[in-house]
């Protein structure tokens, strides 16, 4: 019997990542691709990217893709899904894109119960533009625009999942992390549940992934994983905030 190998999922194109060493975006991309392959949905998927480190998602995925403007991905995904209701339509957005400039689009997508999925990568800052403060930046966290550490006058961390779980239209909402293999496995299960929620037509779904950004945090890849576990998780507790009956 052939040994189960660590193979590239067919839905991920064979290309070198543009991501920094130790960045969790590559894992997140891979998990999405694995779930789509396992569900046999490669030919029925339309991925909607974003602006930020996720901007090249359509370069890595082997399915139809759209590159929208900053923060508007849930609105673009809404347009796609209304035209193609039987397709798997998801957005892939970072915390600058989703939790700042795209807050309106995200919230109302959930409020409408739009039958799409948002994959939300939370690394507490704007990675692509050089590590500026985001609404998700931790208290005291030093970024290029909170050089003395985020203080009260710069606001407080934005817990997106907790807020969206209050929307009746949101069917599945979960926060996962990628700091060790057990968490990665849980993250994959959450993506699967979100996509199943959508394919069953149960409404809006979101998976937030706490993700390491060693470059902008000024940490080694291993230190960055530890930072997610020790610093991010207390502010952003993991778990499923909402699970529909059909996918339990």
């Amino acid at each position: 019997m052939a040994k189960k190998g660590y193979m590239r999922p067919p839905t991920l194109l064979q290309k070198p990542w543009h991501f920094c060493p130790g960045c969790n975006h590559g894992i997140a991309h891979r998990l999405v691709a694995e779930v789509i392959d396992e569900m046999g949905l490669q030919n029925q998927t339309v991925g909607v990217g974003s602006v930020g480190c996720g901007v090249f998602s359509y370069e890595y995925f082997n399915f139809d893709g759209i590159g929208p403007s900053h923060g508007r991905s849930p609105a673009v995904a809404t347009g796609v899904k209304r035209v193609l209701p039987d397709r798997l339509v998801f957005t892939y957005q970072g915390d600058g894109d989703l939790a700042a400039i795209g807050t309106t689009e995200m919230v109302h997508c959930a409020v409408r119960g739009e039958n799409i999925t948002i994959i939300f990568i939370n690394n507490t800052l704007y990675g692509m533009t050089g590590g500026q403060m985001a609404p998700t930046t931790l208290m005291g966290q030093v970024t290029t625009t909170s050089p003395r550490g985020r203080g009260r006058e710069q606001g407080l961390p934005f817990r997106v999942c907790e807020m969206l779980a209050t929307a009746e239209g949101a069917a599945y909402v979960a926060r996962v992390a990628l700091f060790n293999p057990a968490q990665v496995n849980r993250a994959k299960k959450a993506i699967r549940r979100a996509f199943e929620t959508q394919m069953a037509g149960l409404g809006f779904s979101m998976v937030e992934m706490l993700s390491a950004c060693p470059t902008n945090w000024g940490l080694s890849p291993l230190e960055a994983l530890k930072y997610v576990e020790e610093k991010m998780v207390p502010t952003y507790p993991l778990g499923e905030f909402k699970v529909p009956e059909g996918v339990k």
């Binding site: 339309v46 139809d64 995904a77």
Partner: protein
């Protein structure tokens, strides 16, 4: 339904979109265009389509982006302040070469302005509006029947050139009722092999606007502008009225052309050699036809419901050959008397100068 019926401009736009095969509409309420939304909210589900009320015009135009990328014939409508909010999305739609129709039932501006008829969004749609190098086809109907005909034409042009098309109305045209005929046409379903519909039997289709290598961005812009040249070559449209011997030429579009035409008739009764030129496409601007219409003109009056925007294209087309003056009102459609008075005054000057 090819019989004549009485219809409000906004409702006519909605019915024309359905006749043209549009099945998806994304919008946000704003006076004086809300009847377009209301009519389509009622009608689209009846014809197997979808109406989605967005949380803002920013979202509405991005829903249009998504639906167009997914292969649908799609429209949005708004009025001046809402169209301002759409500018980012319009730049992306133009760059991604997505067919889409955008209706602007213009109202008074700047700022919140008012809800009166206006033509002050000419610069915004004809000269740019959003960021970057792109063009929009801009159609300027002047009656409820033309709102219908131009809506159908807009979908054809958007499809043929893979580009967004803007239809200009104003508060008066949106709200006024006129007898119309909605043509019984059978539009072909959209044929878009490039659309992001799920792969099934082909490689991935990608709709995007990012060209990081400088040479790729330059190629992209050159390709877009080759297409715009083709549109300029094929699509300039205009209507002339009594221009052959006209020593005074009134240039006006949309609702103002109706008023100008009435004023020209009044002045002709006085024996004044006056004509009217009406651009039907604002971009591409019908410069050659205007030059021909103005060949005997000694003065040209650009009549607009703005502080003077189209007048710049009139001057660009005519150069220094003939003086071009502005007749304008803000916040209302003038009576023909007012343009007639302007024509009379110019006629006296022309005669005094021999």
């Amino acid at each position: 339904m090819s019989e004549q019926i009485l219809m409000k401009g906004n409702e006519a736009v909605a019915e024309a979109a359905i006749a043209a095969g549009c099945r998806y509409f994304f919008g946000y309420p704003i006076t004086p265009q809300s009847e377009i939304l209301e009519q389509l909210a009622r009608r689209l589900p009846e014809v197997g389509g979808a109406y989605v009320q967005a949380e803002s015009e920013v979202s509405a135009i991005n829903m249009v982006f998504g639906a167009a990328a997914a292969g649908a014939r799609v429209m949005t409508a708004s009025s001046s302040p809402g169209i301002s909010l759409m500018q980012e999305g319009i730049s992306y739609i133009a760059s991604a070469e997505l067919p889409a129709v955008i209706v602007n039932i213009m109202r008074g501006a700047p700022g919140l302005g008012g809800i009166h008829p206006s033509q002050a969004d000419y610069f915004q749609s004809v000269k740019g509006g959003g960021h970057g190098d792109y063009k929009l086809i801009v159609l300027a109907p002047s009656s409820v029947q033309e709102l219908i005909d131009h809506t159908i034409l807009a979908f054809e042009m958007a499809e043929a050139y893979r580009t967004p098309v803007v239809i200009f109305g104003d508060a008066m045209m949106g709200q006024m009722m006129e007898p119309v005929v909605i043509p019984d046409i059978e539009p072909l379903p959209p044929n878009r092999p490039w659309a992001t519909t799920g792969m099934e039997g082909r490689g991935p289709n990608i709709v995007h606007t990012l060209y990081l290598p400088a040479d790729k961005l330059e190629n992209h812009c050159n390709r877009l502008f080759a297409k715009y040249s083709e549109i300029e070559h094929n699509e300039k449209r205009s209507v002339g009225y009594l221009t052959e011997d006209a020593e005074i030429l009134v240039v006006a579009y949309g609702i103002m052309s109706r008023v100008a035409r009435a004023a020209v008739e009044m002045a002709r009764d006085d024996g004044i050699k006056v004509g009217m030129f009406r651009p039907v496409t604002l971009w591409p601007f019908p410069d050659n036809a205007l030059q021909a219409a103005a060949r005997n003109a000694r003065v040209v009056i650009a009549a607009e419901i703005s502080m003077g925007q189209m007048i710049e294209d009139v001057r660009l087309a005519l150069g220094n050959r003939v003086p071009v003056v502005l007749f304008n009102r803000i916040g209302l459609v003038p009576n023909p008397d007012e343009i007639y008075a302007a024509i009379k005054s110019k006629a006296r000057e022309v005669n005094a100068n021999g």
